[in-house]
Structures are given as structure tokens and as C-alpha cells.
């Protein structure tokens, strides 16, 4: 008999790892769906593709896309931290490093959302 336990506590490194993996899984699934959607271009000289793109042109999908971009930015920001750690840089400051990359990531996300949302809403309203 063994006890099983995944120790996360409130340890930042563990949460960064877990969220990195979850974001990675979401992005891998998105990649599959994305390629499948684009594959419709071979039908009806692109008319099927245009139909799908029109269905996607609504606020709900745009919001989901922003969540997707949030996952991309998180994965990128923490991935940057992981690569720094691979060069044994900042290894004794990994928590500060995490806050730093998360801060930069948050700024990029807000910038993306602010520029993307009005465009999305404008095209959705047409």
C-alpha cells in the first residue's frame, strides 16, 4: 500500500509548472482543431471555409480567442523563464523571475485585448 499525493501547496514553482502544462494541453488541442478548420478550404472553392469563418465572427468566439491568446502568452512567458533556468540564470530568484515574466505577459495581454476587441466588435456588428 502506498499513499499518493501531489504536493502543490502554495508553492509558486509548482503552480507555474501545472498551469504551463494545462495551457500546453489546451494549445495542442487548439492546434488540431485549427488545422481541421482550415482543411475545409479544399471544399467548394473556399466557400465552405468562408462559411465557417462567418460563423466564428461573433463576440463569444472573439472572447474565447482572447482566452486562447492568454494561454499562449502565459505559456510563452513562463517558457521564457524555463529557458533562462536552463541556462542556470536566475535560479536562486525563480519566484521573482516568475512575477517579472507574468507582469510583462499581463501587459502584452492587455495591449492585445485592447486592440483586438474593438476590431472584433466592429466586424461583428456589420
Amino acid at each position: 500500500m502506498r499513499r499518493r499525493e501531489l504536493w502543490l501547496g502554495r508553492r509558486l514553482g509548482a503552480w507555474a509548472w501545472l498551469l504551463h502544462r494545462l495551457a500546453g494541453i489546451v494549445l495542442a488541442l487548439y492546434l488540431v482543431v485549427h488545422i481541421m478548420t482550415i482543411s475545409t478550404a479544399r471544399f467548394e472553392d473556399g466557400a465552405a471555409f468562408d462559411r465557417i469563418m462567418r460563423t466564428f465572427n461573433n463576440p463569444v468566439v472573439k472572447l474565447l480567442e482572447i482566452l486562447l491568446i492568454a494561454a499562449v502568452i502565459f505559456h510563452m512567458a513562463n517558457g521564457f523563464r524555463v529557458i533562462l533556468l536552463d541556462f542556470v540564470l536566475g535560479i536562486h530568484h525563480q519566484k521573482a523571475l516568475l512575477w517579472a515574466v507574468m507582469g510583462v505577459g499581463a501587459v502584452i495581454l492587455v495591449a492585445v485585448a485592447v486592440t483586438l476587441l474593438p476590431l472584433a466588435l466592429a466586424s461583428g456588428a456589420r
Partner: protein, 244 residues
């Protein structure tokens, strides 16, 4: 939690494979006194309440690393954990996860030490042994002091989420000891030792989670040692040195 609390509850994991089909929790009231450690609380229970409770300890002073257990949701040494500092009325005490349970809080450390042996934790005899002492400068000694300090209590292994699901992963303690010999100026088998730490169940399973660093009672930084080995392995392979 009331400030004038004079008693705490120890919620202890109980399992006797000879009698029990399933483990259960047993609660004991323990009188609080200044400086009471979790280990002393367990000894109070053993002496005055329940002689059947099994747990391991030896030095009582964080020198031996034997009383490693899961205390209040974190892997810790029982002798080094002050009850008052936990600031809880009820303290959950369980055996280290991932290892076979012998009885109550006592786990079988064999799988842990089998991993340790895989990295060959000893000096290897060179061509002419015993002719002369192997001298080290103070700096060379300091380079491996941190890794010699590891007393193999197993807390890091218990705290590692990768080791929790992947039973073959060498884990932080074994990899720290692999680096201990690489960092030692007297060893000189760097590439062969890297080869032992490389591979599917070694270095590449570490994802810099840092849980091991958080729990180490000796201030060792296993993640740092592992990252140094990854870097060293890649650079030496690029230079055509480390073979698989």
C-alpha cells in the same frame, strides 16, 4: 485559533497491514508545552496514550534525517517542526507518499535508495589507488559542501510532483548525489556520471518545479544541481564528449 490554547489534536495516519484492510485516521490530544516539536508530540502519544503507534526517529536534532513525514500537508522532518509554528488546532500526520507503507508512519525506503544506488554514489578506484592522498583546495571543497550536506531524508522526493506519478524518475536526491561527484575535483568521471543521470528517467524529467528546494531541511538546492548537469551535458555533447 485561541491564543491560550494548551492542547492540540494530532490526526495520525494508522495502518497495520497484518490487521487492517484499509488505513484510518486516529486522533490524539497532545498537551502543548513551549518548544514542543511534532516528534516530541508523537513520543508523548507513544509513551502515555498508545504504545502501538509506529514511527521512525533517531537523532531528534535534524542531523540524521530519519523522521521525514507528511506534516500538515507538507513533507517535513518531525523533529524540526515546531507544533506552535504550525498554528493549527488539528495537525495531520501521514507517512511519506509514494513509498510502500510498512506500518503507520513507517515507509519502506528501499525504492528511494535503489534510485540512489543507480547513480553509483561512491568514488571509483583509479589506476593507482592509495599511493598518495587526493588533496583538495578549500575552494574545491566548498564547491561540493552543499551536496555533501544532503542526508538522504527523502523529503525532496516526496515533494516532487513528477516523482509522485513517475515511479522510475530518479528524483532530486539521487540527482543531487550524481552532481556531488561531478562537482568533486577528485572524481574525474564527469562524462560517465552525466551518462548515468541523463536519459528518460533522469535529468529530462525535471521541470524546474522547485518543490524540492522548498522542503530541503539542509538548504540544498537540487534544482540548481540538476540544471547545472543539463547544461553541462548539452555543452559536452556539443563538444563531442559525453556519449550516450
Amino acid at each position: 485559533m485561541p491564543i491560550d490554547m494548551n492542547e492540540v489534536t494530532f490526526k495520525v495516519f494508522r495502518f497495520d497491514p497484518e490487521k487492517d484492510k484499509k488505513p484510518h485516521w486516529q486522533r490524539y490530544r497532545v498537551a502543548l508545552r513551549p518548544g514542543l516539536s511534532v516528534l516530541e508530540g508523537l513520543l508523548d502519544i507513544l509513551d502515555h496514550q498508545d504504545g502501538s503507534l509506529a514511527f521512525r526517529f533517531s537523532c531528534r536534532g535534524a542531523v540524521c534525517g530519519i523522521c521525514a513525514m507528511y506534516i500538515a500537508g507538507t513533507p517535513r522532518l518531525a523533529c524540526r517542526t515546531q507544533v506552535a509554528e504550525l498554528k493549527r488546532e488539528e495537525i495531520t500526520i501521514a507517512p511519506l507518499p509514494g513509498l510502500p507503507i510498512i506500518k503507520d508512519l513507517v515507509v519502506d525506503m528501499k525504492p528511494f535508495f535503489a534510485k540512489y544506488e543507480q547513480i553509483r554514489p561512491y568514488f571509483l578506484a583509479d589506476a593507482v589507488p592509495g599511493e598518495k592522498e587526493s588533496l583538495q583546495t578549500p575552494q574545491q571543497r566548498r564547491a561540493l559542501a552543499e551536496y555533501i550536506d544532503c542526508f538522504l531524508c527523502g523529503l525532496c522526493h516526496a515533494a516532487c510532483p513528477v516523482a509522485a506519478t513517475d515511479r522510475r524518475y530518479l528524483g532530486p536526491a539521487a540527482l543531487v548525489k550524481a552532481y556531488r561527484f561531478i562537482a568533486d575535483s577528485r572524481d574525474g568521471h564527469t562524462d560517465a556520471r552525466l551518462a548515468l543521470a541523463l536519459g528518460e528517467d533522469g535529468l529530462w524529467r525535471c521541470h524546474t518545479i522547485f518543490n524540492c528546494v522548498e522542503v530541503c531541511p539542509r538548504g540544498v538546492d537540487p534544482t540548481h544541481a540538476i540544471q547545472e548537469m543539463k547544461r553541462l551535458a548539452v555543452w559536452r555533447r556539443l563538444a563531442g564528449k559525453t556519449r550516450p
